[in-house]
Symmetry: C2
Subunit: 514 residues, 2 copies
């Protein structure tokens, strides 16, 4: 045990200078009016990126609103067609979420190359943002009218203009090298970088242009081209990367082209992943209160006529909405809390982790609706059971993808995590417990509601109420669990069958080895 | 001129060490898992505050939605009652905006005292956030049913619980001093700080409790008490401060109680002002696209029946919405850009500047609606003219309050601004031009539409289109203006009558003095 702690301290000392280094670096960047270059128009890009992240996170979740406002009556006849409509809308939501996050990833890539901005770049970026916020609308037009070329035309022109603006930003940045990333700035083959980046960026508008041409005589080909534009670079690189990992080959010169490589290991600004996630969690948490504030303030005249002036009676009808709001706010808030705890210990984000984070966020976006459905149907109806089970499934996947981020960080590079939460780190078990709490509780609730379907609502409510307290007491629970484990393992090596639910079974072993 | 530059450099060197100091300080804070205290549960509060700011900025702007969705028909008879309804809704929006920003200011104050967090504080803060997000709803209930005590009851209970949670956070923080602000941590009279802060925080729940008691027999008294709770500390302190400034008295020992003093000079975290403003600007910029994405995707069946399958014709009806969206996005984006440029040069934020920022943001919140109205009415109708003039007024005030922030920074403490933009700083005129552009353009448009009311729409559209280019060329324009000024002033001191619009007339004088 003592040796183990020494090791942590060593890791620590080992890393301090470098972490100081990055900090100082970002300090230099944030020196506001260009104390570095003496060019008074140069600025740190920090706040521009924060604003862009806020805009993109709102836009990524916008298509959940049409899903939310599809009213489902408890009527078996209408159910079929409504379910189809809902399925379409959910598909549109998920697709726009992915498309917007792809645009966001391109934006991160761009501003990892261009690290400082001036007024001109700030205005160009605003123009780019305006078009990105228009993407969900054009996509949903395209999805609603698949055989009409107008949808493809609008979507493609948006993408083309975004690509062209990005190309202008890159050209502008390379014409003023003090705006660039330090690595590129000091690199000898700046020209090579410039052409590689422009090539990657301009590939998109060109393919979209071809898609527009195809849309006039053979529209299915346009859709294929669009799918290629958006997802192919990621898929092909991921497959290549997995293949290489599986065969154990060393990657060829990882430093040669760090930017625009589409590797799963390509660095991704941790700050921006956090800002984007914060935005999405904040929007999703307040999604229901927006509706409540707008629709659930009763009309004074109606209260007088229908309820004899009794406001309490009038508000009782809104009870399910309030419950749904508090439930979803608490769940989203706690998922944010888990995310926050995880990213406190993440020191480096890769593109793969960003992708897993996106999947987690896409599920989080559906949570308020699932909760709303849960409380909307009459007690013990079949719909209520379904809604509760859907909520559990959504929570489960949102949690599982958060855990996958951690696993990716653990199995990927050693440098992606703070030593405390690596294998045998002193908070490893605690972090595992935090990440495992929601998925395991959601799974448990799901199984229980399958078994005891007539008590599904009470089980779900008990879950909602106990989870926050479980988080408060988690450190205690983990400590008790670890002590129990040690008692079981150390004196006599008995069977490993009664491992507590929240424990990472690997930890005690590594601890015993040390 | 040469002397002037030397002076700037001196200022610079003078300030660098201290600014480095604050940076290093915040670096220490952000060392993630408690490298300072060795307590692994201590964390930087940075991300918790970013998430809180995101939540609060959404909630502050939420009551604009009921205003936005009040459909105004071009019908003179209905106008009276609708205008009354709209006026009520706008009043509710402004009041909730102010109340939420007061809660936000209290939150800043709290987390300026408690600078590091652990899991328990993070969860307590989430609970506090949940109640803050409920404030607008309870307030609008109270405003809709002023004679019903339920509204007062709900609002007061929310405020009471928020106050109690904050008191718990303070008590918890003082029981673990390593969580506190360094200044308090090293201070000798920690106990005094604790009681002063608790006294200020608990004053609010106690007054609310009295308001609840009054509501049972004399409700007007409750409203007076609530007004006292929310605004009195600010008003009384501001009056005292102005009185003291006017009489030229020195403030008594400004260091004795830096926190919870309610002074207009009380420090306000610049980072949080920026985060909150970014959130509000982002929400407001996307307010219209949210509606467009939800309502303006036509139904395939309807398109087939009404427009003979022509999607273009179906979309033409939505033209005004798209124009309003692009116009409001551009205007909000450019106002954000001005805000961003200003805060790049602000080194220290005071409570007075925060208040002026809040007023500016409250006006920005109304912009999308004004733009929507502008495009909704038939050409050359009286309503259209009114809508355009209201838009100009809103832009004018949003811009003027931004400028007031700068003036407050200039006239307040010398340390609040970067030397470049202080009097005689090299970017002073440029900053003035940036801040003055929108108010002067809005004023000009307003006056022009008064004079040439039949051309009001074209004038407004020309304004919308030219302003972004004016921002792009601003540096050039300012330089030309300054050169002209110098030509006018230097050879022969003629009259100062033809000072260009964008110039601060003081600057050339100070330049000549140097």
């Amino acid at each position: 045990m003592g040796e183990n702690e020494v090791e942590i301290v060593e890791h620590h000392v080992e890393e301090e200078p470098e972490r100081n280094g990055t900090r100082t670096h970002s300090f230099l960047e944030s020196l506001t009016p260009s104390d570095r270059e003496g060019n008074s128009s140069t600025q740190s890009s920090h706040r521009l990126l924060a604003y862009s992240d806020a805009l993109i996170s709102i836009i990524a979740t916008v298509m959940i609103l049409p899903v939310a406002h599809t009213k489902i009556e408890d009527d078996e006849e209408l159910k079929e067609s409504l379910q189809n409509l809902l399925a379409t809308k959910i598909a549109v939501y998920l697709m726009t979420f992915l498309i917007v996050t792809v645009a966001w990833a391109a934006h991160i890539r761009l501003f990892q190359v261009i690290e400082r901005i001036d007024d001109c770049l700030a205005l160009l970026n605003l123009a780019c943002m305006m078009l990105i916020t228009f993407l969900p609308y054009t996509f949903s037009l395209m999805a609603t009218f698949p055989e009409n070329i107008l949808g493809i035309l609008l979507f493609c022109s948006c993408v083309i203009v975004i690509g062209l603006i990005q190309a202008i930003i890159v050209t502008y940045g390379f014409s003023r090298p003090f705006l660039l990333n330090d690595q590129i700035q000091t690199s000898e083959n700046q020209g090579y970088y410039k052409w590689h980046i422009l090539k990657v960026i301009l590939r998109v508008p060109i393919l979209c242009f071809v898609a527009i041409i195809f849309s006039f005589f053979f529209s299915p080909m346009s859709y294929v081209l669009l799918a290629i534009v958006i997802f192919l670079p990621y898929i092909s690189q991921s497959v290549k990367w997995c293949y290489r990992k599986a065969k154990g080959q060393v990657e060829e010169s990882p430093d040669s082209m760090l930017f625009y490589s589409f590797h799963p290991n390509e660095p991704l600004s941790k700050e921006r992943v956090e800002a984007f996630s914060d935005g999405v969690y904040a929007i999703v948490a307040t999604l229901l209160i927006l509706d409540i504030c707008e629709d659930n303030v009763p009309d004074p005249r109606e209260v007088q006529e229908k309820f004899g002036g009794s406001l309490i009676e009038a508000l009782q009808g809104f009870g399910p909405e309030f419950l749904a709001y508090f439930g979803s706010f608490a769940t989203v808030g706690l998922l944010w809390f888990v995310h926050h705890s995880l990213f406190l210990h993440v020191t480096k984000t890769s593109r793969l982790m960003g992708l897993l984070n996106t999947f987690s966020l896409a599920f989080v976006g559906g949570l308020p609706l699932a909760y709303q459905l849960t409380h909307e149907f009459p007690r013990n109806s079949r719909n209520e059971l379904e809604a509760i089970q859907i909520s559990c499934v959504i929570i489960f996947f949102a949690g599982i993808f958060q855990m996958a981020i951690w696993v990716a960080a653990l199995f990927g590079e050693r440098r992606a995590l703070h030593p405390y939460v690596r294998y045998a780190g002193r908070d490893h078990a605690f972090m595992f417990a935090k990440l495992a709490l929601y998925p395991s509780v959601a799974l448990g609730t799901f199984l229980l509601t399958c078994a005891l379907s007539q008590f599904s609502a009470p089980i779900f409510h008990v879950m909602e109420v106990t989870v926050p307290f479980a988080f408060l007491l988690l450190r205690l629970l983990v400590r008790v669990g670890l002590t129990l484990l040690r008692l079981v393992f150390s004196p006599a090596k008995q069977s490993a069958s009664d491992v507590p639910e929240y424990e990472d079974p690997r930890l005690p072993f590594t601890e015993m080895v040390n």
